[in-house]
Subunit: 423 residues, 2 copies
């Protein structure tokens, strides 16, 4: 083994429109330090790639392809939903990771994900220490849910927020055009099972100068059908129509998700429901007005065509910072965005100990939600505004964005044993 | 009354992301001919504005606001769903139109809509002739459904097509990233109750050079559950996942819409269903794989942020052409796009007699749908490709597109009688 260690990089959990920008930051920066860093090896399908020794040699990818990661959504090396549990419960898996790292001369473990992967990252570092294997574990934040602590925001969130704000503004203009004789209520279902950050972004479609009638249903606020209908009715009276942005995580007084309606078709088969159609049915029943509904689902988190420039810039910068932290010898840390000014937006990157990040969720502060529970406050606007700012258009060919497909060359396996995944 | 007659302009039916670009073409071109044309008066909420003498004086709108219509989605003067029937059934309404036109010195009737409004336009011209009132009726094509005959395409369609193709490509990249451990089938519901033009656009996300596994469900093809599942299964086997683009108008062998599932919640209340969740439930039941689904609804037809440049250019050009036809003394005509070359795309505008347009729907030719019924053919690609081409980004402020809100000054009423709308 030489002195130059390789980086292992993996994408974790639900992908975003800018997670590849972080990968781009990692790989481009590592390539600038060939004197001290070996190769960047990526896990095929995330951590599963490490467990099964299915590694991708990014050094065989040409420069222009790596550069194109900056404008390519989703996970270019594949991601996965595979949670490692405690050191006790998942010991075999943690040990297998170290074994694979050893075999491939990996000195840096870069894990690009949300809260769970921050925790995994911390545990890998702890186990390696107890096994006397020298590794620097660095977590790169990513999650559309925006629920990681310490960091001002999580890459992926700003672009979803921008997509939802724009979509809400555009659909609202459509509805107001037609409201005289047609649809009066439009309902958009957005992601966010626990925290209402994405739903809050819908409120940005309206500004104090140019108001649109928007009612938001946050997962933080228990759904009250009567109060909700009164709020919608009030907007219809004043504006002629109403747009509703509803989080998938909204629950009724019984604690059950609104989307969990126990739907059955005419033959008694169970149906997959959404919260948007459920709310639309209630509005139709209670107010008797024509409703339309949309469910953004994956469109919102993959919409690289309208990504926020702030978000892309930060995603790249955090990937770059991870390499710089590695070069400084840091371990068990995460580079975080620290906001130093709202307007103009100023931010810097600081390292945070993983112990401060793992297993802690950042919820929406109640002061970001208006008193009636259906809107956002001025302080929420101040927080969100810079995160949506700037456009960062991908290149186009024949009317469609050109996203790169990497060749993803495999690294030859060195271990004899196969590894059975837990699931 | 002077010799300079006014134009009456109205938007009809479902709005699009570029119908205001046609309005912009009308108003800017009319303003260049002040020597021969009076004002452009717009109907507030479409033809209802004419019937109720609720007219908007666009001459009071400043130049920059009119220019901004080019990049503003939806209907800036309001539109409506209000169909005039035959001359016999709706005679009072047609006569009322002429009465309002007379009172406001209107010599040109510009109706911006789909097949129904082409028919209305024709009838207004016929009745005016029989009543000896001189009017030139000109129809400006618009419809996301792309179902008007003669014209190569309808403004509004190209931009929806672009949005659906981009969204399908982006969501597919998301799904393939996660397919190893999570979602294997993604289903996107798109508009198009009668014709599969919009669904076909989903197929453009995949190209012969860079293939994505996409299965399309067209309203033209009767849904065959077994064959559909086999097609999805085949894609999953080959690519690890499958994206499905389903038209809202797909029907089963019983002739009923797939979305019409007779859904009931746990309390027996009827629920508004979509076709996407219905198909997702079937996939889950038959193939046992994890599904996600999205319903684009109004987002697709209002997505001005990613409008097709071809579409915007044609929408404007058709508005301009309407004024030029008016100046040439034409009546009962529609300016249409005539394609003269696929690649490079060349087109020109020609006038078409309304009698050739009214009450005729242009369906997808069967040769545009692949033999198995689940994809598009090379000739469909040749047709669609230029329509998606080019980007035409709106201006942004604070991360959001700046869309104009007109002041829409009312014209003083001249008639004493109010008019009771039929519905």
């Amino acid at each position: 083994m030489g002195r130059k260690k390789n980086i292992f990089y993996a994408q974790s959990g639900g992908v975003t429109s800018v997670i590849n920008a972080s990968a781009c930051g990692v790989i481009e920066t590592a390539r600038q330090h060939r004197d001290r860093i070996g190769k960047v090896l990526a896990g095929r399908n995330g951590i599963i790639g490490a467990l099964t020794e299915d590694l991708i040699d990014t050094s065989r990818e040409k420069k222009s392809n790596i550069a194109a990661l900056r404008h390519t959504p989703a996970g270019a090396f594949g991601s996965c939903r595979y949670k490692l549990k405690s050191l006790e419960e998942s010991r075999a898996e943690y040990e297998r990771l170290i074994e694979v790292f050893k075999a491939h001369d990996i000195g840096y473990f870069f894990y690009n994900g949300g809260g769970d992967s921050a925790d995994t990252c911390l545990k890998v570092s702890q186990l390696a220490k107890s096994m006397n294997y020298p590794i620097q574990a660095i977590h790169i934040p990513k999650t559309v849910d925006n629920d990681l602590p310490v960091t001002d925001t999580c890459p992926g969130f700003g672009s979803v927020a921008k997509y939802i704000a724009i979509s809400t503004r555009e659909a609202s203009l459509d509805v107001v055009s037609m409201a005289k004789t047609s649809t009066k209520v439009f309902i958009l279902e957005v992601m966010g099972r626990h925290a209402g950050w994405i739903a809050a972004a819908g409120g940005m479609a309206s500004t104090p100068e140019s108001q649109l009638p928007i009612v938001i249903l946050f997962p933080e606020i228990t759904f009250d059908r009567e109060r909700f209908m009164a709020a919608v009715q009030h907007k219809i009276k004043k504006f002629g129509y109403c747009s509703v942005v509803v989080s998938e995580g909204v629950r009724g007084p019984d604690g059950k998700f609104l989307s969990d309606q126990g739907l059955r078709d005419a033959f008694g088969h169970a149906q997959l429901g959404g919260v948007a159609p459920a709310v639309a049915s209630m509005v139709k029943e209670d107010l008797g007005v024509k409703c339309h509904w949309a469910v953004a689902d994956y469109l919102q988190r993959s919409a690289r065509h309208i990504a926020s420039k702030t978000d892309v810039t930060q995603a790249y910068a955090l990937g770059k910072a991870a390499v710089e932290l590695a070069l400084k010898g840091r371990n068990s840390v995460m580079p975080a965005i620290i906001r130093t000014s709202d307007s103009p937006y100023r931010w810097k990157i600081e390292e945070v100990a993983l112990s401060r990040v793992a297993n802690r969720e950042k919820m929406m502060p109640r002061r970001f939600i208006s008193r009636d529970g259906f809107g956002i406050t001025a302080s929420c606007r101040r927080y969100l505004k810079p995160l949506l700012k700037g456009e960062d258009y991908p290149p186009y060919r024949d009317g469609l964005p050109v996203y790169v497909e990497l060749s993803n060359h495999s690294v030859a396996k060195k271990l004899k044993a196969d590894f059975d995944l837990d699931r």
